[in-house]
């Protein structure tokens, strides 16, 4: 089963790359519009210094942004969980915050915060805190009421109910939220960079196209995907280590 989980996507990827290579070389499109995979691979190697520097910038924005959004998301979730007033008052606003078109907000935030890392973190956090809040909140709310009754007859305080029951029960939810967050965090960072920055892969993408360096633009995309995959993998590993009890997805025809 282990081999299949790696082999199957790898095989599919290989087929797609082969088809792409053939189409790019034999098809009607100019390589400036659609570079072949081997050109992209060559750009990955030749521009490695430039790509690496910009990857480091974007990676930092993504990581810090996720950190901010996890802290903010968990904070929101706990506050809403503990207070019915906040649930009524704040929750609708959180949902509304997700309807803000980031593409429009991003330049405004850049105008406000400037070209440094602050607007990037704000945008990544704005996109990412929501899944963390929702999944954590749902996990907190789905704690078995009988377990709470049990703890109450043990004379547990509100804090002890949280500490011994709700917090550990919510951890799998938090990690699920964080996994959704990493997938969108990379998009957020790129949008933020494109709204105004002097470095980062988003900035590099924006520059590579008018410079007719299309393979480099694609190389940047490859790196961005790799970054998201790496973070997702790290979180999956963290999940396995931190919440080994959580019902893991055993849906596959085991």
């Amino acid at each position: 089963m282990k081999a299949r989980t790696i082999l199957l996507p790898a095989l599919l990827l290989l087929v797609l790359l082969g088809a792409w290579e053939l189409y790019a070389r034999l098809g009607p499109l100019d390589p400036l519009i659609l570079p072949a995979p081997d050109q992209i691979a060559s750009s990955l190697w030749h521009d490695r210094g430039l790509l690496w520097d910009n990857l480091a910038v974007t990676g930092r924005e993504v990581l810090l942004g996720i950190l901010v959004s996890v802290v903010a998301g968990v904070g929101c979730a706990i506050a809403i969980h503990l207070s019915a007033t906040l649930r009524r008052g704040v929750y609708p606003l959180l949902v509304a915050s997700q309807t803000l078109p980031i593409v429009i907000i991003a330049p405004l935030l850049v105008a406000w915060f400037g070209y440094d890392i602050a607007p990037k973190l704000a945008i990544v956090a704005l996109i990412c805190f929501f899944p963390v809040t929702v999944t954590t909140l749902d996990a907190l709310a789905s704690v078995d009421p009988d377990a709470i009754k049990l703890l109450r007859t043990l004379d547990a305080s509100r804090w002890q109910v949280f500490r011994h029951l709700e917090a550990p029960a919510a951890l799998p939810g938090l990690l699920s939220g964080a996994k959704i967050a990493v997938a969108v965090a990379v998009i957020g960072a790129v949008l933020a960079e494109q709204a105004g920055s002097s470095d980062g892969l988003g900035h590099l993408l924006l520059q590579a196209i008018p410079q007719l360096e299309t393979p480099r633009a694609y190389a940047a995309v490859v790196l961005l995907s790799a970054l998201a995959l790496l973070l997702f993998g790290a979180l999956t590993l963290a999940e396995r280590l931190a919440v080994p009890w959580a019902p893991r997805t055993k849906r596959r025809n085991a």
Binding site: D146, L151, T153, L154
Partner: protein, 248 residues
């Protein structure tokens, strides 16, 4: 109908005293004028049809709900819900020791205190097992141990054997009897299984369909351990069933 009130034993103090309790949920009356006592270290089994307010009664005894009328008093009680509700992130020993942690003991102290009882009650070797790795019967024993380690004088057990298969049920019932023989407690056990009530109880209290009220009290007074096939057990079971309105 045969209603027998148990003569109060010599000098045992009362642990649970439910007097003339009425409990309503909106338009529904769950309990109506319910009066029930449990003496110290007495095992009182409450049987009744589904929805007669048995769980409500236990929550009243535990102070998780307040009656709309009447009074509930007695020694502090710990609640044991129907399902074992072991925490999946704790191993068996830590689950059993949870009440000690809540009472303020450190993790190490709680384990050290729980471990002797753990071993004494036949759970030796399973300390580090996660609940998901335990059988249903073992999980229920750990849950009982957790209830015992609360140190509360009254145990309020809500259908504690309902989720177990017949074979495991008999085994865990015997285990509970042994555990109670070692560390006597007052027990209020609700069940819909009349046989279980007769096998385990010092006294069987039969409730009516909703709104629940006491329709019969049967002192059991048979030597332990009892088997469900004993003639006396069968006879008492039939009396309890008759009180419930089940034709013979």
């Amino acid at each position: 109908m045969d209603i027998t009130l148990q003569a109060p034993p010599v000098s045992a103090p009362t642990s649970v005293e439910v007097r003339g309790v009425i409990r309503r949920f909106g338009a529904v009356t769950a309990l109506e004028d319910l009066t029930l006592q449990a003496l110290e270290h007495e095992v009182v089994c409450v049987v009744g049809p589904s929805g007669c307010g048995k769980s409500t009664l236990l929550e009243l005894v535990c102070g998780l709900q307040a009656p709309d009328a009447g009074s509930v008093s007695g020694a502090p009680a710990v609640y044991m819900p129907q399902r074992d509700l072991l925490f999946p992130w704790l191993n068996a020993l830590d689950n059993a020791a949870l009440p000690l942690r809540v009472a303020g003991a450190s993790r190490a102290a709680a384990r050290a205190q729980a471990h002797p009882l753990f071993a004494e009650l036949g759970l030796d070797g399973f300390e580090r097992a996660r609940p998901e790795a335990l059988s249903g019967g073992m999980r229920q024993r750990v849950a009982f141990l957790r209830t015992l380690l609360s140190g509360k004088p009254v145990l309020a057990l809500d259908e504690p054997f309902a989720a177990l298969d017949a074979l495991t049920r008999a085994e865990v019932q015997r285990w509970l009897e042994e555990a109670l023989a070692r560390t006597p407690r007052t027990v209020v056990l609700v069940t819909h299984d009349v046989e279980e009530a007769v096998v385990l109880g010092d006294r069987v209290v039969v409730l009516s369909p909703r709104p629940g009220r006491v329709v019969a009290e049967l002192p059991v007074g048979l030597p332990r351990p009892r088997r469900r096939t004993d003639a006396d057990v069968v006879a008492l079971r039939e009396r309890a069933l008759a009180a419930l309105g089940v034709p013979a």
